[in-house]
């Protein structure tokens, strides 16, 4: 989310929309490689939580254009196969490209006809290499990816950032969620290790609510992805019924 603050003029680095006339070609001259990549349409946090026999992901449906809430109904939680779901944040165009890449990979897997569906750890590793290659070309895919699934009947939750940094854990949140949601999620897990699906969902929903109150780039509509050995569910869009009554008590910061 800190990258977003670097956006000016809705993030376009010197183009015809820049009517201020100060868009000399300096960015081109300063960049020896000749490209400059900043995210344009961005999506905020993705949350992930592993429970007793599965994993739950959550992400809202907003595509932001700098501080403009540009697209209010975009989906970024997707089913890959019966073992894997993905939740993606960051640049939405890069996400759509990544989605097609994963789609192509899945078609390739299907063509093998070996009835061995791709497992989450494999896709996690593969995506790590994709993102690392792009960062090594200094032309990154500007995304945070959560990979959730079930492998050998145990929940699997992985994370990759735009550099190819890969992490595996039972609680992961990206962007602003790393600051706001992770403490709440870790606290919930500490109080009740081995949550069931319903308890995990309640905790994630609570976190999405808190994020809606505190993250200025978030939205009151979100999707949930829930994966267990028996089923894959993409739920939503679900609306947050916000209560702003208490907001009047927050004062003195003006």
């Amino acid at each position: 989310m800190f990258e977003v603050s670097a956006l000016h003029n809705f993030g376009f680095p010197a183009n015809s929309l820049d009517l201020l006339g100060n868009n000399e070609f300096q960015t081109i001259n300063d960049d020896p490689i000749g490209h400059f990549h900043t995210p344009i349409t961005t999506a905020t946090s993705v949350l992930g939580l592993a429970f007793d026999n599965g994993v739950i992901l959550a992400a809202d449906t907003l595509g932001s254009y700098g501080s403009l809430a540009r697209f209010k109904n975009i989906s970024r939680v997707l089913k890959v196969n019966k073992n894997i779901i993905l939740g993606v944040g960051g640049d939405y165009a890069d996400f759509q490209y990544l989605k097609e890449l994963v789609n192509g990979k899945m078609i390739g897997e299907e063509c093998l006809e070996d009835n061995v569906p791709l497992k989450p750890a494999s896709l996690h590793c593969w995506l790590t290499r994709v993102l690392y290659q792009r960062r090594s070309k200094v032309d990154p895919l500007w995304n945070n990816v959560l990979i959730a699934g079930v492998q050998n009947k145990t929940p699997y939750l992985g994370f990759i950032d735009k550099l190819g940094t890969a992490v595996k854990d039972t609680v992961i949140a990206t962007g602003f969620g790393a600051h706001i949601a992770v403490p709440l999620l870790r606290n919930g897990v500490q109080k009740k290790p081995n949550m069931n699906k319903q308890e995990a969902e309640e905790l994630i929903v609570k976190c999405m609510e808190v994020l809606y109150y505190r993250d200025a780039r978030s939205f009151n509509k979100y999707e949930l992805g829930i994966i267990t050995p028996d089923e894959v569910q993409i739920k939503g869009p679900i609306s947050i019924k916000a209560n702003w009554d208490i907001s009047q008590y927050v004062s003195g910061y003006e």
């Binding site: 670097a6 000016h8 680095p13 010197a14 100060n22 868009n23 000399e24 070609f25 300096q26 960015t27 001259n29 300063d30 960049d31 400059f36 990549h37 900043t38 790590t128 690392y132 960062r135 090594s136 200094v138 990154p140 994370f159 550099l163 190819g164 940094t165 890969a166 992490v167 595996k168 854990d169 992961i172 790393a178 600051h179 992770v182």
Partner: protein
Amino acid sequence: MALASLPHLSGMKKNDSRFNPYDDNGGSIVAIGGDNYLLIASDTRLSTGYSIYTRNQSKLFQVSNKSIVGCSGCWCDTLTLTRLINARMQMYLHEHNKEMSTPALAQMISTMLYYKRFFPYYVSVVMGGLEPDGSGWVYSYDPIGNLERSKFHAGGSSGALLQPLLDNQVGLKNIQNIVEESITLEKASRIVQDVFISAAERDIYTGDEIHIMCITADGIKEEKVDLRKD
């Protein structure tokens, strides 16, 4: 000439923050080699800035039955480098029908790091292993492959904090009237735990747990010890 380098235009520079392909994910590694053992330990915290990615990520990678690579710094580079090392260990095994020796691995890592001299792996590597004569040795590297062979080393985010402590406690430097003798495994293990506890007090990138691995003629043993988690 870049326009922004002209003083009267420098204020106009818009895109001054370019994409940074590196991150500092922290983590520390300590290794001690003895007469018949090699002890290597890392913490298990993986961070970025003031955030913790995970509290449970060891930075030790067993690449053969005789050697362990410890790698910390930019985690995406660590993942890439260690995977590449593992692949080349496999290739060596299949080509020669034996595991690569520790000194050969040491030189290979140096070459692999230097190969990326002008876009380096941003990592500090500490490799430890048993040599053909059964003694434990430590090889430490800078990001571009400069290599040093020694009996003990501290690397990573607490490297500069811990090295002088090891010089004193393991190398027995700056102590008067002392009989120089080699450190036992039990003593080395105690020192490693103590220095990590000290590092966790002062370095925010070191903490959560210590992952200790020990190679002897009998094989490899591992152990986890708690560190402060704040």
